[in-house]
Symmetry: C2
DNA sequence: TCCATAGTTCGATAATAGTCGAAATGTTGA
DNA sequence: TCAACATTTCGACTATTATCGAACTATGGA
């Protein structure tokens, strides 16, 4: 992943409203949530919500597909994965620097022999 | 970690210049780099570099300490770790959604029983 | 003490982003 | 075809951010 692309993803997540939306979808899992449910959960005006959903979609962190009158959004786990891999790539010269991520199964970056 | 705090860290990383600085320091490891070396590596004007270093320091992603005439900056791996843990917390309802992070030792988030 | 070097702060400017009411678009069911 | 609902687009406003030259501060050596 390019630095510029990664920066765009991070900037997209670097806003409280969008991060809340993203986290909601991450926890919702692959089935995702329809827009109105997200708006209700986060008490966000429709226009504002749409603006942020469009932003997250444009950078590829989430995707949406129409389901009759609704649009169901869900996390693009692949993009999320690549982003985390980019952040931790070649990190810390072999020390076990990311214990909490490891606990959650995200693993200490340098436990890996590769 | 609070959503607002996480958003501040992500916003700090959500800019090409700051992300480049951060990645440079992540790869440099615990010993870090002095400011002038960073500026040289990234061809950044001193005032601009200082602005971004101050930003990254303020949110706690890096730290700096004076070494005679120089200031040596290094990654705060703890903050980085917490941030990744926040992003992946309770993710994806048990699917193995983060294979690349796992490859690097960042681990698929849901391999973990907790 | 004085100079050179490393780094930060100041100030001005330009560009971008966030919010939300109102209007428009798309979809379903009557 | 029309009404109701879900969502997006438009428009206008406000606020924040990035950049960088110039001036300032701090440190070490002559």
């Amino acid at each position: 992943m390019e630095t510029l692309t990664a920066a765009e993803l991070l900037a997209a997540l670097g806003h409280e409203s969008r991060l809340s939306i993203f986290r909601l979808l991450v926890e919702a899992g692959p089935e995702g949530m329809v827009a109105s449910a997200i708006g209700e959960a986060l008490a966000m005006a429709p226009a504002t919500l749409s603006f942020h959903l469009a932003h997250l979609t444009r950078v590829g962190l989430i995707g949406g597909q129409r389901e009759s009158r609704f649009i169901r959004y869900s996390t693009n786990y692949g993009a999320m994965d690549e982003l985390i891999a980019f952040l931790t790539h070649n990190c810390c010269h072999g020390a076990a620097c990311l214990p909490k991520s490891a606990e959650q199964g995200a693993g200490a970056c340098c436990a890996d022999p590769s």
